[in-house]
């Protein structure tokens, strides 16, 4: 009997942070053993015509568990993620209860055992995400927590945020800010603009996000802390982050896939599936976001997967919960809607390397930090010695997005019925095939 822990991916091209080339990939005991032409092993996983990339890394995945197991569990989320090419997802701390203590981090780690991909916990910045006292960040960092965020709420008190930055800076962890000024966003459910005016729905102005970005960049400068912005949605927000980084600030930002694909006008039918947080912005904002992605200037594209039960969306738009089930579809949606397909030219088309980079090695570097010089560890390069976290993508496969056929327990999505091009064929997590020929193995 062949050794199950040794196999070769044959017939594909490899696309990673170092570029693209035709090569087979030999995996042995959890690591990449060799990359090159004509490799062989008793066990062969066919990857003809496919692209092998470093496994996707999601910094922003709502897990549902604990608290909303009807909508999602850690295992169902991980299965959806693996089917979507993710090998690592970072769970948001906005569960019920909030992940804010060593006990809750350990609970999540226990829940994640045996899941179809790596599920890492993040934790809240303040206890209960109530914006009052800091969580025991050092204790949580020692348990492996790297991202801290009061998700969906954000830290409003500038002095508290300053303290969080200062305390976190010494621990080497990342403070993630959800940028939305609550007094400007109050009563809003839609991007403030012509469509919110026409539809008679309270708006959330772009400036509700931008004033927080402005302030927090100043506080990051004051403290020297590493700041990561959650799901930015406006052209001006990204321009500010970009110029701050050019000035040397250690600041990064993520963008949700939904904001790259949809705009406020898509809410015109009052379908609660189109309600997101941050809201779907103007067509100009979307174009600017896609332009940044195409230019390789986005640090991370995230799923912002948000599981909901059906009833959370069977209510009026303003009462509906924001967010959609995204983990399984994010990559395929990006490939279909943003990259240049067979179908001919497309305005603002994103290169494959830019899209995969923003879904894989760029978020990985935010999650893991800069690799210390002289170590063998590398993120985002498929070479001998690298951890075998790989996604094998068939770029030509066409299929229809059917939420009911997804692995997530949550099926709310505005993308149901879309024609997709590009599909994950195999997902290898730590050298183990978790998805084989499009079928989850767990």
């Amino acid at each position: 009997m062949a050794d199950l822990h040794t196999f070769v991916l044959k017939g594909a091209s490899v696309l990673d942070a170092s570029g693209r080339r035709s090569a087979d990939v030999l995996v042995r005991d959890g690591f990449v053993a060799a990359v090159g032409e004509g490799l062989d092993a008793p066990r062969v996983l066919d990857a003809a015509g496919c692209i092998i990339t470093p496994g996707l890394v999601d910094l922003n995945a709502g897990l549902g568990e604990p608290g909303a197991e009807e909508a999602e569990t850690v295992h169902s989320a991980a299965r959806a993620a693996a089917l979507g090419g993710y090998t690592t997802i970072v769970g948001r701390a906005d569960t019920d209860p909030v992940v804010d203590s060593a006990a809750s981090v350990r609970e999540l780690r226990a829940l994640a055992e045996g899941a179809a991909c790596r599920v890492l916990p993040s934790a809240s910045i303040t206890v209960g995400a109530r914006g009052e006292r800091l969580t025991p960040m050092a204790e949580l960092a020692a348990l492996g927590v790297r991202l801290f965020a009061d998700d969906g709420v954000g830290i409003h008190d500038a002095r508290l945020l300053r303290r969080a930055f200062e305390y976190a800076a010494g621990l080497g962890v990342v403070i993630c800010q959800f940028a939305q000024e609550p007094s400007l966003a109050a009563g809003g459910h839609l991007h403030e603009g012509p469509w919110s005016a026409r539809l008679g729905i309270g708006g959330i102005p772009a400036e509700a996000e931008e004033v927080v970005v402005m302030r927090d960049l100043a506080l990051a400068r004051l403290t020297g802390a590493q700041l990561h912005f959650r799901t930015l949605s406006t052209a001006a927000s990204l321009a500010m982050v970009h110029s701050a980084r050019r000035r040397g600030l250690p600041v990064t930002a993520e963008v949700a896939m939904a904001n790259l694909l949809l705009v406020d006008e898509d809410c015109a039918g009052f379908d609660p599936a189109t309600k997101f947080r941050p809201p779907l912005r103007s067509a100009e904002d979307r174009r600017a976001l896609v332009g940044r992605l195409a230019a390789g200037e986005l640090d991370a594209v995230v799923s912002a997967h948000t599981p909901h039960s059906v009833q959370d969306k069977e209510v009026p738009f303003d009462e509906a919960a924001p967010g959609a089930s995204m983990l399984q579809w994010t990559l395929a949606l990006g490939l279909s809607e943003l990259t240049l397909g067979e179908g001919g030219p497309q305005a603002n088309a994103v290169g494959l390397a830019e899209l995969i980079g923003a879904l894989s090695w760029k978020p990985a570097s935010i999650l893991h930090g800069t690799v210390p010089a002289g170590t063998a560890l590398t993120y985002g390069v498929i070479e001998s010695g690298a951890a075998a976290d790989l996604a094998v993508i068939d770029p030509t496969a066409t299929w229809i997005l059917d939420p009911a056929a997804g692995a997530s327990r949550s099926r709310t999505t505005p993308f149901a019925g879309r024609s997709l091009r590009g599909r994950v064929r195999h997902t290898i997590v730590g050298g183990e095939p978790m998805v084989l020929d499009g079928v989850a193995q767990r």
Partner: protein, 325 residues
Amino acid sequence: MKHLLGVIGQPRAMLEELLQLSDSFAEVNARAIPKVPALRGRTVATLFFEDSTRTRLSFETAAKRLSADTLSFSVSSSSVKKGETLRDTALTLQAMRIDAIVVRHASSGAPWQLARWLDCSVINAGDGWHEHPTQALLDCYTLRRHFGSLDGLRIAIVGDIKHSRVARSDVWAFTALGAEVTLVAPRTLLPPSLEGWPVQVSEDLDRVLGSSDVVYLLRMQRERQHEALVPSLREYTARFGLTRDRAERLADRAVVLHPGPMNRGVEIAPEVADLDRCLVLDQVANGVTVRMAVLYKLLAGSAADPHDAVGDEAWGPIRSGGSDG
């Protein structure tokens, strides 16, 4: 036409058809016994998630004058808070085999969602800040009766446009019928964007007043001063209220409209509300007429002529076809 959800973007022909149909029912309403069997055997339910006795009564009166059966559902906000979704409520009504649902909801868009879930006709009786199509129709009908036509009428809509479903529907209905609309309000009470709206905007009522054929006053809610949208009701009245002084500067033929209920002393001086040129009670009477036309249009057979149906005992229900409104 299966539903009446909104008037934004509706063609002039559709509005004119409903206004012409209203004339037939105005004749019915003038009779000693204002009742015809046009919708006998049909059931119309009013589903109000937000209190509005006037609008509900107007719809129920309209339905009864067409001999339809009426049902009245009051959905208290507490039962929604207990977890019943909008869809649950809709399907409950569906199970009772109702022909039309007249819905009022505090959330913009709720009637559009109901129309997706239900087989029966849905009539929007006001959704959030979004639309109030029968109010727009009755306003158009009132002006048409008074002036003969809306073509070329200069209409000033004054007050809290931002939060007003009446204003949103009226702007599009008035302009579709040929009127020119000027919105008069401080910036805080205007929508965040007027891109694509066929209107002019002014912050100065006194400049607009003399050249207006119609001054349409919106209800000014007291809460707005607590949201810092206006400093005080006193200042609002001083800038945007139709005071006695301002009423004297109206053009001779100018009329005043208000969707009710009026805040006498805030947006309109009590003496002005009682002037002949204030058509508020005409609006109420015409509301019943127009709603009869809407119910008839949606529920009666599309081929039937209302003049035949009126008073014709033998006229029976025919399922209306057509596409969504």
